[in-house]
């Protein structure tokens, strides 16, 4: 019996070694690509024609869609920030998703809105709309009051009402940079191949001070949990997504702020309800649609920080959020399993989706099992103390390395954290996250995997806690 146990423990140790070796090689490759792309982007910014596109009549109009459910505290600020962006022609559509607090009243009072009668063409089949509100003096603002049905359905409702060829989904707790829309549209304007979706970097608003709708002072959050997320977001957005973008294999764009070609989304039937991560699901479905029809297309990501969003600052809410994200990933992979290892879908089918399946889905489970097996192997005398220490040190430093590069990439972008103490704190947290944050995240994600296997389809609501709201973005690793 002991021999069999030893045999399995040894086998698993080798498996974990190869698994992490492969994963880290992949991360390093992504990192190298992202570094090159961002350095080039920094040089290109000098001659980018943002200003010209901002004045051009050729710049297509955009509908900014803001779904809101019980967002009384932040919704007016978010709408003001959306209305203040520099963009030639845009409209802001707020979808009140059956809020039971004073969300609707706050918006109606703040913007002097009146009920108007519009026809609702149920293009994407959504839950019923109760009323529309607008103010002739703010002609580019429309508020839709509808029955509670979730974010996907609310976005579909906004798409139905929108009158622009592009729409941009924005979370109710997110604040936009003034030039965010023009930066997002630039790859679309300049590309010869249709760009059907484009996303940008989402940064953490905890600790940041806003004066009205504009950013006043960039600071780091005081609490540890949001600090870990600052480092995590830097890593995820600046080398994860940039790397995937360079490989033209992006599978996730942040629900907090991403731009879509409306006709493309209508072609695939809009957002799909019943998934907890509609932002990833829609992107995968867009890939599927275009690849099956062999139509040229691009899904882009830009490295400029364009949107600020609040993140949970307590373990309960963060845990709910992470379980929900992981459940969303599992649901998306499950719904589109026919694409995995399917050559018809090119690099998405043969490369991106298998990566998400093997490294993102099973990574946390293997990591937790790895901790147990390594401990058992050590107790059984299969692993020398030297080996154990060396493995642990390697694992910690590699994690620190990835996050330090994320911090370095943040330094290259504009709107960096200005103080010396910011840099030091970020590097310190890059090291610290390996001792607590990483493990607890793996635990939540493993929980989500078991919930998924047990047939859970619903999602845990992340409710207001203190001054922070959760971000509807999914920084799946890396």
């Amino acid at each position: 019996m002991k021999t069999i146990l030893i045999f399995f423990a040894l086998g698993f140790n080798y498996f974990v070694g190869f698994y992490y070796g492969a994963m880290n090689i992949f991360y390093t490759a992504l990192l190298a690509i992202a570094l090159g792309v961002i350095l080039r982007h920094v040089r290109r910014i000098k001659y980018e024609p943002f200003k010209e596109y901002g004045l051009s009549s050729q710049t297509p109009s955009i509908s900014v869609l803001i779904p809101a459910h019980n967002e009384e505290r932040v919704i007016v600020r978010t709408i003001r920030s959306a209305l203040a962006v520099d963009y030639p022609i845009f409209e802001v559509i707020v979808i009140n998703d059956g809020s039971v607090d004073g969300t609707l009243e706050a918006v109606v009072n703040a913007f002097g809105l009146k009920k108007i009668d519009l026809i609702y063409r149920n293009v994407l089949r959504t839950r019923p709309v109760k009323a529309f509100y607008s103010n002739p003096e703010i002609p580019n603002l429309v508020v839709i009051d509808k029955e509670r049905s979730g974010k996907a359905d609310s976005l579909n409702c906004g798409i139905t009402v929108s009158r622009s060829p592009y729409f941009c989904s924005v979370d109710a707790d997110s604040l936009l940079e003034q030039d965010s829309l023009i930066k997002l549209i630039t790859p679309i304007m300049e590309s010869n191949v249709p760009v059907i979706a484009c996303g940008g970097v989402v940064r953490i608003a905890n600790g940041v001070t806003f004066q009205g709708t504009s950013l006043q002072e960039i600071d780091l959050p005081r609490k540890a949990l949001p600090m870990f997320q600052v480092v995590e977001y830097a890593r995820t957005f600046l080398f994860g997504r940039m790397g995937w973008d360079a490989l033209n294999s992006l599978l996730i764009l942040s629900g907090a702020f991403s731009l879509f070609l409306k006709s493309a989304v209508l072609n695939v039937g809009g957002y799909r309800g019943g998934t907890t991560s509609e932002d990833m699901e829609i992107v995968v479905r867009l890939h599927k649609h275009y690849l099956e029809r062999k139509k040229p297309y691009k899904i882009k990501f830009i490295s400029d920080p364009i949107c600020w969003t609040e993140v949970p600052d307590n373990l309960t809410m963060l845990g709910r959020q992470r379980r929900r994200w992981h459940l969303g990933l599992l649901q998306t992979l499950s719904q589109h399993r026919s694409m995995i290892f399917n050559a018809e879908y090119g690099r998405i089918g043969l490369f991106a989706l298998p990566y998400y399946l093997f490294f993102e889905t099973f990574g946390p489970v293997i990591e937790l099992m790895g901790y147990v097996t390594v401990a058992c192997s050590f107790l059984l005398g299969l692993l020398s103390t030297d080996f154990l220490i060396l493995f642990l040190v390697l694992s910690v430093f590699y994690g620190t390395f990835l996050s330090t590069v994320g911090v370095f990439l943040t330094e290259l972008t504009y709107r960096r954290y200005p103080k010396w103490s910011h840099l030091m704190r970020m590097v310190w947290y890059a090291l610290l996250e390996n001792f607590y944050y990483r493990q607890i995240n793996s635990f939540w994600r493993t929980e989500a995997l078991f919930q998924f296997l047990a047939g859970r389809t619903g999602w845990e609501h992340v409710v207001e806690k203190g001054s922070n709201f959760p971000a509807e973005v999914s920084p799946h690793e890396p």
Partner: protein, 424 residues
């Protein structure tokens, strides 16, 4: 032995990773230190340069400061002077002197040399700067880049630079290369159109001449788009008129855009030319035609626009309704007919546009009209709108309106609707 070997490999990996962590950390620190020092000094230079240059420009002695401003290429003073000069060249009154300063201080030569660089970002940045210097003498160099390049990024910046300069030769070179750029898909249509819009009205004859020269629909569509953004000109209007019957729908739609502007209505072509396009087989052509005739307020289009209120495409229906509201009281009959006799969906579209365009305000004001027919038609439209639940403007007026006569009329039409509904 083997175990030791593995341990050594692991230890070596750890050392490498620690070195990399330190390297990235030090890179971040060094970057901060250098940038802090650089920008502090740059700010100082900027302040000094701005004062010196603006004083000299205001006193008309700009060339006297050349020696004071001269600096080593790419030094901080060089960058500061460059920034200030780029800022000042935007002001038309200083343009000539600033161009001279750019030349005398060696900026033009410096960046023209960089145009030969093999590095994409260096070359594109140099093209951008040469373009911003607005020098006629650099146009030839930029044309050389345009004709020899195939890199989309450099081409985009070059075309923008040439258009910004607005010299005839530059525009001619772009138009000459256009078939090749579009044929090889080297640049997006939107980029070309956004850049060409910088041309002045003087460019219109050249744009039209090249449009006639090429039969390529993509080029024609782009040039028409640009013409629709430039001031109305008889040559452009005739060119657009000639393209109203083009085979390509995009060309037809953009030709309508050229003709469908208010300032074009006093031009040489009659809006009646657009009427057949309201029956075009392609929806966005019909939509453009409806928009144009609405903008031109062409009353003779009312019946055909009325027919479009039942179009299969909702965007066309909305555009037609919007166009009719622009035309005003002459549309009342059409609205009334459609609201009386057609399906609920089309009625809804009309009511929606009547509210969105604030035409309901005109209808409400018409309730005090001395013209009995206008009064009755407006009242009937409001009554039908109310029966279709488009009642918000009526209730708003009842709540906050000032004219008691109108309020009385509204109250009675609400009552009528209620009686009618009860009767049904």
């Amino acid at each position: 032995m083997i175990t030791d070997f593995y341990k050594q490999i692991l230890a070596a990996l750890i050392v490498c990773i620690i070195i990399l962590i330190l390297a990235f950390f030090l890179a971040a620190v060094t970057r901060r230190v250098l940038n802090a020092r650089k920008y502090a000094e740059l700010d100082r230079y900027r302040k000094w340069c701005r004062l010196k240059i603006t004083t000299a420009l205001q006193s008309g002695s700009s060339l006297s400061i050349v020696e004071d401003l001269r600096a080593q290429p790419l030094s901080l003073q060089w960058h500061a002077v460059e920034e200030i000069l780029f800022d000042l060249i935007e002001q038309r009154k200083y343009r000539k002197e600033v161009r001279q300063l750019f030349y005398r201080l060696g900026y033009r030569d410096h960046y023209e040399k960089k145009l030969k660089s093999n590095r994409v970002t260096t070359k594109a940045a140099a093209v951008d700067k040469v373009g911003k210097m607005l020098s006629e003498f650099s146009t030839g160099k930029l044309i050389e880049v345009l004709n020899s390049e195939n890199n989309p990024e450099i081409l985009t910046v070059t075309i923008r630079a040439l258009c910004r300069n607005n010299y005839r030769e530059g525009l001619k070179a772009i138009l000459e290369r256009l078939p090749d750029l579009y044929g090889k898909n080297l640049i997006s249509q939107k980029t070309i159109e956004t850049s060409l819009v910088h041309c002045s009205a003087d460019a219109i004859p050249l744009l039209v001449a090249y449009g006639r020269k090429y039969g390529n629909p993509k080029i024609t569509a782009s040039l028409l788009e640009v013409l629709s953004r430039l001031p109305a000109n008889p040559m452009a209007l005739y060119y657009a008129g000639a393209n109203l019957g083009a085979y390509d729908a995009e060309v037809r739609a953009r030709a309508i855009k050229v003709l469908g502007r208010r300032e074009a209505s006093e031009g040489v072509l009659h809006p009646a030319l657009l009427l057949p396009l309201l029956e075009d087989r392609v929806w966005f052509v019909r939509l453009q035609a409806a928009n144009a005739l609405g903008t031109l307020r062409y009353e003779r289009a009312v019946d055909k626009l009325g027919a479009l209120l039942l179009d299969q495409n909702w965007q066309v229906r909305n555009a037609a309704a919007r166009a009719l509201t622009h035309i005003g009281d002459a549309s009342l009959d059409v609205f009334l007919n459609i609201l009386k006799y057609t399906d609920r969906y089309a009625k809804g579209s009309i009511c929606e546009e009547l509210e969105r365009t604030n035409f309901t305000r005109i209808l409400i004001e018409n309730l005090t009209s001395s013209d009995k027919r206008t009064h009755e038609k407006s009242r009937e439209i409001l009554r039908i709108m109310h029966s279709l639940n488009f009642s918000t403007p009526i209730y708003d007026y009842l709540n906050s309106g000032k004219n008691n006569g109108i309020k009385h009329e509204m109250a009675s039409l609400i009552l009528e609707t209620a009686v009618h509904s009860a009767g049904v």
